[in-house]
Symmetry: C2
Subunit: 322 residues, 2 copies
Amino acid sequence: MKSESRPPSSVTNLKIVCLAGGVGGAKLADGLAQIVPPENLTVVVNTGDDFAHLGLKICPDLDTVMYTLAGAANLETGWGRAGESWRTVAEVGRLGGPDWFHLGDLDLATHLVRTQLLGEGMSLTAVTGHICRHFNIQPTILPMSDQPAPTLIATGAARLSFQTWFVKERWQPPVEQVVLPDDVRATPAVLKALETADLLLIAPSNPFVSVAPILNVYPIRAMIEDLPQAVVAVTPIIGGQAVKGPAAKMMQEMGLPVTARAVADYYGDLIDGFVYDQQDAGSLDGLNMACLCVDTWMHTLADRRRLAQEVLNFAIYVAGNE
Amino acid sequence: MKSESRPPSSVTNLKIVCLAGGVGGAKLADGLAQIVPPENLTVVVNTGDDFAHLGLKICPDLDTVMYTLAGAANLETGWGRAGESWRTVAEVGRLGGPDWFHLGDLDLATHLVRTQLLGEGMSLTAVTGHICRHFNIQPTILPMSDQPAPTLIATGAARLSFQTWFVKERWQPPVEQVVLPDDVRATPAVLKALETADLLLIAPSNPFVSVAPILNVYPIRAMIEDLPQAVVAVTPIIGGQAVKGPAAKMMQEMGLPVTARAVADYYGDLIDGFVYDQQDAGSLDGLNMACLCVDTWMHTLADRRRLAQEVLNFAIYVAGNE
C-alpha cells in the first residue's frame, strides 16, 4: 500500500474487504459479519478450486463461505452443510459414477441451482448473489472472477486440477508448483469493492492455493498494492502446523520454513500488518512490519468474533500509523 | 410388414423388440423380461421427452423403463424410484431454483452419472448400457437415438418442450399438434435390433408422444414396415380412457374418437395385430387386422407377465398366419 493514508473513522463506517479461501477464510468472515454492518463488508472468495463434476459447477470455497455466513455450515467438518445426508452420492457410486467428491444432498441443491442459473446466462457473481439472498446472507460475497480460473497443482510429471489433487488424491502428491492461469480478470463488483475499501484483510487461508489465486486475478494485486489504507493478513500457520489442510505440507515441499514468519515474508510488501498466534510469540520479532500476536484459533463462534475484532482494531491502528 | 414370413420357432428363440414410452411401456417390457431370455429382448425407448434441467440430462422414459426392469421403480406412482426421498429438490426450491420437476434423491444419481458420462464423450446408448449394468438389468434397453430429438407440443400460440407441457403445465394446455424433429437418425444398435427382430411389439404407451417419436427416427418406421414377422400393438386406451397420462385428452383435442379402435387406425398398415381390452369387447369388430381381446390392465407384477405372454402368443399366431 501507499503511504498517503487518511485516518479511518469509526469501525462501523469503514468499508472492509476480506480475501478468503475456504474454512479459515469463512470463519474470519463470519466473525467480521458479527461486528461490521453488512453493507460495509465484502468477502472476495477464491474460485481457483471450482470445477465441473457430474455436470455441475461446484465452487467449494464460495459454498463454504456462504454456508458459514448463513449459519448453515457443518461446524464439525468446517465444510458442507449442517444436517447433511448422502443418499444421492452413495447411489452415484453404486451406479459406477465418481463418488470421491463429498456431495451432500443439501449441498447438491446449491450446485444444481448454480448450474441452472449459469446455464441461463447469469454471471457467477449474480448467481452467488441469488443464492446468498435465498440464504438470507447480508454481507456481499463475491467470486474473485466470473471467468474460469483453475488452479493446477504440478506434482511430478502430472498437473492435477485442484480438486483432483485436494480431494481425490487427499493432497498427498508432493507439490512442486502451484500453477495459476493467465489473463483472468476481476469483475466490476470486485473492482468497485477494492476501490472503495478502507481496510483490506487477508484471511487465515492457504496463501498459495487460496489467496494467491485471488491476487493473480488482474488487477487485484496491483489495486491492493495501491490501497491507501491498511492491508493486514492473518497467519494460517500456528506452531509450525496448518490449522487445517495442506498449507504446512506444501510449504515443506516448496522448500519454505513452515512458520508464520514465512507466510509474512511470502506476502511481503503487499501487506502492512500481520497477525500471528501467541503460540509463536517472539518469532516475528525484527520483522519490518506491524505485527499483532494473539490467540488466532477459531474453535467457537465467539472465537471468530473476538479474532475479527482484534484484527479490525489492529488494522485500524496500522492504518492510523501509515 | 411384408408377407414373406417365416414360421417362428419356440418363443425362447425369438428375438423380440418392444417400442416403449414410460410407464405402460415399462410394465409390458417388465412382463416380457419375465418370459423372454434377456439376450432376445430389446426395448427401444422414446427419448423425445428428454430435457436439460438444473444442468442435468434427464431421460424420463429411459429411467422409467430402467427402474422398472431393475425392480427399483415406485410401484405406486409408476415413475421414479422406490423408497425415494426429496431432500435435494426441496432445497433447490428454497434456494429459488426450479423445483417443478420431481427429482428424487436416488433418481438424481442416475441423472448425475448420465450427465457425467455424456460429458466424457460417451453416447447415450453406451451410458444407458453402463447404468443398466449397474442396475443388473439383463435385457437390452436402447434409446431410440443418440441425437437430441425433442418432442414439442404446439398449444395455442406456444410451442412447449414436452416436459414443460407434461409436468410443469400438468398437460393442461390443449394440444393442437405434436411437433417431431427432422433428421433424427437411429443408432447402429437400434438398426441391428430391428434387422434381427422376429417380433416387434408396440407397448401400451401414448401413440402420439411416446411411440410416434420413435417411429419418426429415420429409418425406424420404414424398417418396421419391411419387417418379415409380425408387428403387434397394445392399446393404451381402455373404455374411452387412458390407463395413465394425457393420451385420451390429446385424442379429444386432436379431434379423434377416444377409442382403442382409433389407436389401431392410427397405427394402420404399420401393424399386423392389435391387442385391446375386454372392456371394449366387440368394438374392434370389422377391423381388417388380427385382434386379441384380453384383460390389458397391468395392476400387479403377475398381470405384466400374463399380458406379455398373451401378447407374445398372439404375435406368434399373427406371424404364423401372415
